[in-house]
């Protein structure tokens, strides 16, 4: 536990990870923790995304940090209708869980792949675009490749895969799983 905290602090200090901070209103507290890889932080600060989409992303990340309700579609979900609706989607594959967050309009889906590093502690690793209708002009995400990349990024940041909770249900509190 102490080792994990010191590794996270060291990763922040070295610039391998950027802690996502939100402006708190009265009565709000940071109940979950979120780190971004620097390239994701850079995308959110750049002009690459539509300003409205950036705010959609920031609003969802803010809700995560504030510990509000989150909906999670697990890998063994039986209901196909909820797949495009949940906040977090657990991707199929070997454990520990590897998850996706999708941010919708105004243009293409902005996809962020990520992994929990402890309960309510999340690290966003890679991102990409996906469109149902046309080319996005952005790199396509291949989940298996991104999963390997995530593991490399984890090691580079001094984090260990065995710190990742083995089940998605033990990764996030105040969430509805389906």
């Amino acid at each position: 536990m102490i080792q994990r905290e010191s590794a996270l602090k060291a990763a922040e200090k070295s610039g391998a990870l950027v802690r996502y901070k939100v402006d708190l209103d009265q009565g709000e507290f940071e109940e979950r923790r979120l780190w971004l890889r620097p390239e994701i932080d850079a995308v959110l600060r750049s002009q690459q995304l539509d300003p409205r989409q950036v705010q959609v992303v920031r609003a969802a990340l803010r809700r995560f940090v504030l510990g509000a309700n989150f909906t999670v579609v697990t890998a063994d979900c039986e209901y196909r209708e909820v797949e495009p609706i949940g906040d977090i989607r657990e991707l199929r594959g070997y454990r520990p869980p590897f998850i996706e967050l999708r941010f919708k309009p105004p243009k293409h889906d902005f996809r962020v792949l990520r992994r929990f590093v402890g309960k309510d502690s999340l690290v966003l690793t890679t991102y990409g675009m996906k469109s149902l209708t046309g080319k996005t002009g952005q790199k396509a995400l291949i989940v298996s490749v991104e999963r390997n990349r995530c593991e490399v990024a984890f090691r580079a940041a001094g984090l260990q895969i065995n710190w990742v909770p083995p089940e998605i249900k033990s990764s996030v509190s105040k969430a509805r799983f389906i």
Partner: protein, 147 residues
């Protein structure tokens, strides 16, 4: 005495407008998604069933729940939430810092000082008046906080 005083206003920037609307939309959509998860699990209903109940087009229901609908009306939210066996309610959290209206603070300070003036000699009143006039709103806040 204080009822005609007006606190200073500051126009929202374009980015702040986007931020505020995105946060509220996200809040509404997350609650709709959560309610949909519940009806899927408990009633076994899908988008088609919600469409039949609410009278909203099935595709529109899908777009709303997936966050692809741009303008979500109050009417749509009301119909959809009722279809999902929920009663919608808007909660407004007060973000107003308590006692932090500079104009009112200044007036309050002026009132209390004028009471002091009436109770004391004219010499004290003559000394106090210029200080009141030179007090800035920020100073008024500071002095209020100190008190």
């Amino acid at each position: 005495m204080n009822k005609h005083l007006k606190a200073s206003i500051e126009r929202m920037s374009d980015s702040r407008r986007l931020e505020v609307t995105a946060q509220f939309t996200d809040d509404v959509l997350s609650k709709l998604a959560d309610a949909f998860f519940q009806v899927v699990q408990q009633e076994g209903w899908g988008k088609r069933d919600l469409s039949s109940i609410s009278g909203i087009n099935e595709t529109a229901v899908g777009h709303i729940l997936a966050g692809r609908r741009k303008n979500l009306t109050v009417e749509t939210i009301a119909l959809l939430t009722r279809a999902m066996r929920k009663r919608p309610e808007l909660t407004l959290h007060d973000l107003r810092p308590k006692g932090n209206n500079p104009a009112k603070l200044l007036a309050t300070q002026r009132d209390s000082t004028s009471v002091a003036i009436t109770n004391s000699s004219e010499i004290v009143a003559a000394r106090a008046a210029p200080e009141i006039n030179s007090t800035s709103p920020a100073a008024a806040i500071r002095s209020f906080a100190d008190a």
